[in-house]
Amino acid sequence: MSALQALTARVRENPPPGPFRPGFWRSPIRGPWLTSVFGAVLLVGVPIMFATGFVSYLAYNPWLPGNDGRHASGVLTFVPFHWPTSPSWGYRVTQGLHVTLGVMLAPVLLAKLWSVIPKLFVWPPAASPAHALERASLFLLVGGGIFTFVTGLLNVQYWYRFPGSFYVLHFYGAWVFISAFVAHAVLKVPHMRRAFRERRLRDELRVDLTHTEPEPFSPDGLVSATPAAPTISRRGALGLVALGSASAFVLTAPQVIGGPVRRLGLLAPRAGYDTGDGPNDFAVNITAASAGITDQAVADWSLTLLGGSTPKVITRADLLAMELHTVHLPIACVEGWSTGNQRWEGIRLRDLARLAGVDDPDSVFVESLQSGGEFGRGRLAGNQIDAGSSLLALRVNGTDLSPDHGFPARIIVPNNPGVRNTKWVARMTFET
């Protein structure tokens, strides 16, 4: 035996103390079956998260110039279809699902990580090239996964201390996560199926604490070499995680469901309070004060329409004298919350395009009075201009828009992310 081989063997047989020793981890319920249950939930949940998240990316029309500064970045930003304007509640559902499910999966993710923690301290750290490669992938899986969940949870609570743009971080973080997730699923699903074959969920749910036994031990596996006496059954542990997810649902989903239920969402950023019943008493995203909308700017306001042969400047009185249309549409935010349908009155975007002198626009560049911010300006696509219920709204629920809801005028487009329904619109450039 060479000296190197002897050294390797010695290192292998002498793990450092503490968590690297096989006797350290003693939970009697930790094992491939329990891990498989959490894994199976994530195997359903994480792809839903990714799909609804990617759909939200598409809803921002990232292919229009300026809407996504990194759209040219390549294969990760492909656009399989252009975002439709119907059903009008579509984004309400997909994004409500995205955020609510994300909060519900947080306890499952924590439980899954707890169930495999001994693997982090496996000795030797890399037993073979295969093992080393797999651990690199696991770093992307765990680092990318926690990163994506944390950025999402912080964003919906307006804690903006990200190391960059939330949109970039959450989107590409999710790509890191899903790439490693798919590889992990391909490699581990066979183990999961074996675990479920050997121990059926239905049977296991009948096992109480006194009958709880560790799963069969195998070296280098998840099962403890020296299990402690159980203090909770496997079904109890599953129940704990399920209670966590159920609580997350009850406390979060009301900001999507709305109505009288909204009061119940005690921890959701947009629920758990009395919204009031005035015409403008629905949730606000960015107050007029924080957007830098001054009384003077509003008093001096007029709308400039560009794109035709000559610019058109219109006052609010001119707009009110035009043909007003009424539509019933919700506000649905990327943060997952939404309002019920509000009754908006305003001028159709396609009528404004005609007024500007542009017959068949491909897009419109909307600019707000708002100072700064990522969403003070943005582009809407041709199909959004054409939709009959797309308005430049002047009034809501029978009265003028409040300053916080975009007075003098705001965009309202069906199935559009809330932040693209630009408020305090000052200028619209129709483009062909």
Partner: protein, 153 residues
Amino acid sequence: MSADLTTRARRLYGEHPAHALVLLVSFVPALLALGQLLDERRIDVAKWLVGSAVLHDALLLPAYVLVDAAAVALWRRRPGRVAWLNFVRIPLAVSGMLLLVYSPEILGKAASFQDKTGRSTDPYLGHWLVVTAILAAGSAVWYLTRLAVVRRR
């Protein structure tokens, strides 16, 4: 691939060659995305990516495992007629999880909350305490019911 070649790959690499293929293919989109991430504030993004794994594995998990071990040790000393352990740790765990997930609101750290919503984060600490009290009360009622059943026998 011949059986002999597969065996040799297994000996050298440690797994079936398909294992390497799956992982290497998955690295392509992951590395493309990492490149975009690091194009933001590079050092800070790296800190966040590594930090999120480290904070969980080296701080959060050991912390709650230790709290749980303390609860178990306490319970083993005074187990009671009906084991009270899970009636304490289940509401505690759920409440702790909610605190973790909604900590920016509950701890009032969400600096932009007021500007964005027009409302304050002040009520959230109270809301979380109410939710915790509901969980604890539910657990207590269940425990007392069990205790009553055991005593009647």
